[in-house]
Symmetry: C2
Subunit: 217 residues, 2 copies
């Protein structure tokens, strides 16, 4: 498959690197054509790896992964171009977090989410929210954490969620550990996990953890 | 111990009932002295069980449990009286949720929490947020859900958290399954779990579930 990974931070490079290792063609997208981080990533990530602008990455891709910060996700996708998202699966792994005066803040929160913002702004994209609830190393290697812990998917389009579940399977998440929460509105629920995730990070002292939903029946 | 359980809904009656079964003295507190639900509960809950006003319940108690809805928690505690909370452990199990136009809304959220509101309003109370992340049947019988799933505690006062951990132990939560998230500010994190909890309730079709934090090391 041909993937665009928008964002050259640790999340984008980790996801893009693993996709390239799996044999996919990956373009790491950024604002400018000559982003040094993206170029260095492409040199090290093998034959299928390229760097480009958001629009170059998205135009050639079958699947677009949003790996920028949640607060700039719409900006990155507008730069990618609505015509380059038309009908495509858009995988949103972002969290709309920022530190303001030393305090963690989420925006949007509770009455909206980045997943919903993207779906509203690009109604012909097939948006799936997933992976935002774990560290990027765990995203691409869930065996770092023991147990039958799960990953959530949310989105309106069942076939897009099925395709994303296949991708999650390539990363090491078997189907029974992919929990479909429902429509894209549930992006609110998974984005609102971030404060707990940060509390656990502080308390455990590392990011190699996840939650497992246990059920009585 | 002498407990006040404020609130005559399912959460209050379940917590109060289990506390009475465990041999504690429990007064179920409500707005009025002659609340029929509270009186009926007291008749069925054994020798140590009584019904009373919020103030009557709190004045005689060593520990006060806030089991009303999160949006009316401050009102119930004001009715209980600040002088009846002085120096006492106040266990807040509430969630500030309401359905507005058919939509779930949380308020406060993200920049504040009920736990913090209570601690600010009653600075001499020793507030511990806990148990709000599971259904009330699971609160008092965690064995309904298999696995080493956990319960969170948040609060400024370490000795109050230790006392609450003892209470949680009586309910069936052993110490290694009580996760101390830190100060009362972390009440934000656990209150923000509610939307995910409701999504899981809808998807699983029942409330006998909980999350287990799994860690790589």
């Amino acid at each position: 498959m041909r993937y665009a990974v928008l964002g050259t931070g640790e999340v984008g490079r980790t996801l893009g690197g693993r996709l390239a290792e799996l044999g996919h063609e990956v373009t790491l997208g950024s604002r400018s054509k000559d982003n040094p981080t993206a170029l260095e990533w492409a040199r090290g990530a093998g034959a299928g790896a390229q760097a480009g602008t958001f629009a170059e990455a998205a135009s050639s891709a079958e699947v677009v992964v949003v790996a920028v910060g949640g607060r700039v996700a719409l900006m990155a996708l507008e730069a990618a171009g609505a015509e380059n998202l038309d009908g495509k699966v858009v995988v949103d792994v972002s969290n709309p977090m920022a530190f303001e005066d030393g305090e963690l803040r989420l925006s949007p929160v509770e009455s909206d989410s980045v997943g919903e913002q993207i779906q509203r702004a690009f109604p012909r994209a097939r948006v799936v929210k997933t992976l935002n609830t774990v560290n990027c190393k765990v995203m691409v290697d869930p065996s770092l954490v023991p147990g039958e812990h799960q990953i959530f998917v949310c989105g309106a389009d069942a076939s897009a969620k099925e395709q994303v579940s296949g991708l999650l399977g390539e990363f090491g998440w078997p189907p029974h550990r992919v929990l479909d929460l429902g429509g894209i509105r549930s992006a609110r629920s998974v984005e609102m996990l971030l404060p707990l995730w940060l509390d656990l990070l502080r308390n455990l002292g590392h990011a190699e953890f996840n939650i497992e939903v246990r059920r009585g029946h």
